[in-house]
């Protein structure tokens, strides 16, 4: 019986670890963005609609994933909100006339495609996702 519980524990533990590993998010930007890195606070400001420029003066436009591990990981690591609270924040800006809702795309490939072809676009994808045509920003 003890072995059974131990096995269950190891199974769920490894599932959690796997999920965590797969969900690590990478921040990507259109090559027109000058910065090679971005601070966590700048990233949070841009993705909550509080700011639209990075420290170097680059104007950026955030693009979102609709759902998924990379989306949840990004929100948790850099925005500090769950999906509902995050979208509620954006809707507050939209319904009070202070901003437009960022584009929300279905897949990480679509985010890469959008970011690659739109100057100033900034988004996020999972660590293992191919990202040709975009630059990866390191987060300070």
């Amino acid at each position: 019986m003890k072995k059974y519980f131990l096995a269950i524990l190891i199974l769920f533990g490894s599932l959690l670890l796997t999920a965590k590993a797969q969900a690590q998010a990478v921040v990507i930007a259109n090559p027109s963005v000058k910065s090679a890195d971005v601070s966590k606070s700048d990233l949070r400001d841009v993705f909550t609609g509080a700011a639209s420029t990075l420290k170097d003066g680059s104007h950026v436009t955030p693009v979102l994933l609709k759902a998924g591990g990379a989306h949840d990981e990004f929100l948790s690591a850099y925005v500090g909100k769950n999906d509902s609270a995050f979208r509620a924040g954006w809707r507050s800006l939209v319904f009070s006339g202070q901003a437009s809702m960022p584009k929300s795309l279905d897949s990480e490939a679509a985010v890469v495609e959008f970011v690659a072809h739109n100057p100033g676009a900034i988004g996020y994808i999972g660590k293992g996702t191919a990202h040709e045509g975009v630059k990866v920003l390191s987060v300070r």
Binding site: A50, V94, F95
Partner: protein, 402 residues
């Protein structure tokens, strides 16, 4: 009754949230977005009918609102949009559709932007977002600072804003500012015209005037601590009829100060605001002589919430309201520098059903008697037998947004 209401309300809202999604289409090369929101509430009190609803007895579901929004980002700096809004709150609103806001917004730099048209008024933490039930922990924001029956009075102005945000040197955080000027024009289905009509047989036909003010908020070096101050000055004129004679009221002084702070940390948030509204009015009732009335309304609250998991958040606030008034009109009637005090202790639970839908269940424990000169949630026609000194209320509110 209650269970039936909650079940049917939740089902209706869920159905709407499944059917309705944000729409995006193109006009020419430009993306156009359409969003919307709506809520349905139910209020039951043990005594006193509240917010012009018949809330005692079986309770009332005459607590509904909805908004529909359309907007387009024309360039990276230029945006246009507008929103229609309609509500029914007991005897108020009456489903008259309103242009909630309609703006053109040009942001020159992060620290300098302009918006003009009909603009939501930034005043304190929540004035411009007070209708957005999904964004708040509470089913009813603290009524001492954000009275829902007077929502139309402060919600927007026709004019323009200058706004911006800038980082401060030496890691002192950032500031955001808004300065505005324009004109306020109240709906005649709002709380104040209703109060005058039902308490004093004064039938207003217009109420509004020039308004200007500003808001300054400081995102402090203490992570997630925000402090702010708002100020608004107005010059209001109301016209109408009293016993067949022309009625005019005109403000000599009319201003609001609001101070606020908010702190968020992981799953916690805490906020507090203090608001003082002062007005000094001249009243003319078809005679050469003028009466005056002065009013000093002070409200504050302390509140907070904790997100237990992605489905549930709990919260609480303590709200205090005090209305002191005096003047020749008041002297003439009976009261002299009389004051009204209201306390409201609130506990709330917010259930997030999915990313579009929320259900809130909230208990209010109020202590205090209303006055007859300025609305404070309790009105005479719905309480014709007199007011009890305490009121307990259950508020259930379901909402969706897309």
């Amino acid at each position: 009754m209650l269970l039936k209401y909650i079940a049917s309300g939740t089902l209706a809202i869920l159905g709407l949230s499944i059917c309705l999604h944000a729409q995006e289409f193109k006009i020419g090369e430009k993306d156009v977005q359409v969003h919307g929101f709506g809520t349905q509430g139910y209020v039951k009190t043990n005594d006193n009918n509240w917010l012009t609803m018949e809330t005692s007895g079986g309770g009332s579901g005459a607590f509904t609102d909805a908004g529909l929004n359309i907007g387009s980002q024309i360039t990276s700096n230029f945006r246009i949009g507008g929103q229609a809004y309609s509500r029914k709150l007991g005897a108020l609103g009456d489903w008259h559709p309103q242009l909630d806001w309609a703006i053109a917004d040009y942001r020159v730099k992060p620290w300098l932007g302009f918006r003009g048209g009909k603009v939501k008024t930034v005043l304190g933490l929540y004035n411009d977002v007070q209708d957005l039930d999904f964004a708040n922990t509470y089913a009813l924001l603290p009524q001492s600072v954000y009275p829902i029956d007077l929502r139309d009075a402060m919600i927007a102005h026709e004019g323009g804003d200058i706004y911006g945000r800038a980082k401060l040197p030496n890691n002192l955080g950032a500031i955001a500012y808004t300065a505005y000027g324009g004109r306020r024009s109240d709906s005649m289905s709002s709380g104040y015209p209703y109060e005058l009509k039902t308490a004093a047989s004064i039938y207003l036909t217009s109420y509004g005037g020039p308004v200007f003010g500003g808001d300054l908020r400081w995102m402090t070096p203490v992570k997630n601590l925000k402090l702010g101050i708002s100020r608004q000055n107005e010059r209001i004129t109301g016209t109408g009829k009293y016993s067949g004679a022309p009625y005019t009221e005109r403000s000599r002084h009319d201003w609001t100060n609001q101070f606020y702070g908010q702190y968020t940390a992981n799953r916690w948030h805490a906020e507090s605001e203090y608001k003082r509204y002062y007005r000094d009015q001249i009243i003319l009732v078809g005679t050469p002589g003028a009466l005056d009335i002065g009013q000093d309304i002070r409200g504050w609250y302390v509140g907070g919430g904790y997100t237990v998991n992605k489905w549930f958040e709990c919260g609480s606030y303590f709200s205090h309201y005090r209305d002191t008034f005096g003047g020749s009109l008041v002297h003439a009637i009976v009261y002299k520098d009389a004051a009204t005090k209201d306390l409201d202790k609130v506990v709330t639970g917010k259930f997030t059903i999915n990313r579009f839908t929320t259900v809130k269940v909230e208990g209010h424990f109020m202590d205090g008697a209303p006055n007859e000169f300025y609305p404070a949630g309790f009105y005479i026609p719905e309480n014709s037998k007199g007011f009890a000194n305490t009121t307990n209320a259950l508020v259930v509110r379901t909402g969706f947004s897309f």
